[in-house]
Subunit: 270 residues, 3 copies
């Protein structure tokens, strides 16, 4: 099946199945993550107490772990939920927010990867470089050189961790170690709003909860955010900025059809 | 006094008295809960540390407890704040989010009910069924059969717990064990936005903080959210969805007058 | 340099330097604080675990401490981050939300002030009065008598604590103990939205992270929120209220130029 067809199928599957997406995530963007899952057609649930996460993940179609405001209590919950998810075959998406900035983040991300073997890891170039052990951390994939660099890093890391690696930036790179896909949707205003990275991970999680192919699920999630960003930005009138843009981002995803997404996704499948 | 007249009086009381509504609530929708209280004319305060909750509730006109992202630390705070509220005669509204999904939620909701005897409990059909010990949990009140079912369950549970039970869904049911009220406001887009249930509980809490009649306070809170949802939805133009809808929901409540609310509330008082 | 010129320079500095603003703040308004920093041109980071805050503040240009939903865990983190910030010369902004309401808040604010000696403290009249030990706590600076009262209290407290004190209200007062500035921007609808105080502290923090003069940084932060509030309010059409206003507030700050801010700031430098 061609990649556009898979994207179309994936969004249809979300809308038909309303997957329940369990999040253990940061308190900065948690409301946006819940609403973006709803906008796409999924159903979010946030639960982070050690006494209930394993039970809650039992109802979930996917688990999204985001270390944006990690603490000792929730790290333990992530491990408990993640282990249960793996036992049950529930896909795990990891967003290693800020990995590399502090030892706590780096050690936690490594521990989560080692103990849970996530199905998808989504981060920016700098975060994925830290995980890959690359010394040169750069901001997003902004040039052709970065793009080639990103492709190599994503493919290498995906192959070594046996998972899907997604690097988001000006050009996005997704690899499962064998296949590689570059995406060119999006608009730079997305970087001026907090949580667009977290929300992308939640979208990826929602697709993973409805589709069995996590490589195309990651692509669909990233294409959805990029395309919605383009539509929302194009709708802005004079004087409107990130406040209005945020509202329109949810509007755009809410109305996005599988056909439109498949057609307007700027995917380069290599 | 007829129910519409009570609704009118209740909203007037909120706007005159600016009741302070103490919340111990989840971190997903907490910002929306604060803004909805402000939109109605109340004043929100969120405080959840065990060292301050009993003191804070002393200034409050109502206490809203919401177990959406409960944890061992905040469960204890809910009990402390709730006991102090009962001592002081401050009304307690409980939103048993997700009760039935995990043992932690079910046990916590039961403990809060047993130890605090809340004045109002608001949930969806599935949540209230769990509290009532009913085995058949269904999603909201969507049909005539459900409506009659909901009325029986609400009345039975209200009578047994000696509190007001509010079940929200397509048709909402409110009972204090003797009186029964059905409400038909609302729009299905409300279910596509996170936190509309939590916000309804905050509205109910705000009315309870300004009116002594908690049965009509619960009705007013639910009618407010339903009517605001209708107005917000009717204002949407082509391409606008849940992002714009959310903003308009706050706009609508901000401008709602007591007269308009009383007039357009679709209440069936039985 | 005249104050308007400093305001202009300060906003230019933010846009050129993209200062990283580390927040340990409440979970009610944290998303708004992150987005307001981005709207101005800074970069927010929220991290509150004791194991990482000292390390994270090492990358920061300013630290904002907000006790809105303080708890024993985050109080300790505030002290750790604050001490490290002072060692590194990173400016510390304190928002003593609700000080005076509970012993925990009052004791915590006093401890933070004593141990950290913040560079700027921003609160409303009631909060600053508590810190100043004044017995008469009043709501904001609303009349000429209050204005003169506020000026005396700000100057006295700033002088005694050797920091910048900013009191926000109808008229805002900023003093460093010697200089005094009164500001008249703003609109009363700002008080109907949760978090406008917190966001003002985040704006002040962002300016402090880009400018070495914290007195003019505090003025610029307060003028920015006030002016953006005016612009956002003026843009509202019939039926629009706090929901739309909030979105426009971010839009306004996003498009604010240094020249416009300097020109339209209603500063009275005394």
């Amino acid at each position: 099946m061609e990649i556009r067809e898979k994207i179309l199928t994936n969004l249809r599957a979300v809308k038909e199945r309303t997957p329940l997406i369990h999040h253990i995530t940061n308190y900065v963007t948690v409301n946006d993550c819940a609403n973006i899952v709803l906008a796409l057609g999924g159903s979010p649930v946030m639960a982070d107490d050690q006494e209930e996460v394993a039970e809650m993940v039992g109802f979930a179609s996917a688990l999204v772990l985001n270390i944006g405001t990690l603490n000792s209590r929730t790290i333990e919950s992530m491990l408990l939920a993640g282990k249960r998810a793996k036992e049950l075959g529930v896909p795990v998406v990891l967003d290693p927010v800020g990995v590399g900035a502090t030892h706590l983040r780096t050690n936690t991300a490594r521990k989560l990867i080692q103990e849970l073997n996530p199905d998808v890891i989504r981060g920016n170039m700098s975060e994925i470089c830290v995980l890959a052990g690359e010394e040169v951390a750069i901001k997003g994939v902004d040039s052709l050189a970065d793009e080639q660099n990103g492709a190599v890093i994503a493919q290498k890391l995906a192959s070594s961790l046996k998972c899907v690696i997604a690097i988001t930036g000006k050009t996005d790179v997704v690899s499962d170690g064998e296949q590689l896909c570059l995406l060119d949707n999006g608009h730079r205003i997305l970087a001026d709003v907090t949580g667009t990275g977290c929300m992308t991970s939640s979208l990826v999680g929602t697709y993973c909860g409805a589709a069995k192919d996590y490589f195309s699920a990651a692509i669909a999630g990233i294409a959805t955010m990029g395309l919605a960003g383009e539509i929302a930005q194009a709708s802005l009138r004079h004087g409107e900025g990130i406040g209005t843009f945020r509202a329109r981002l949810f509007d755009s995803i809410y109305h996005l059809t599988p056909e439109q997404l498949a057609q307007e996704s700027k995917v380069r499948h290599e």
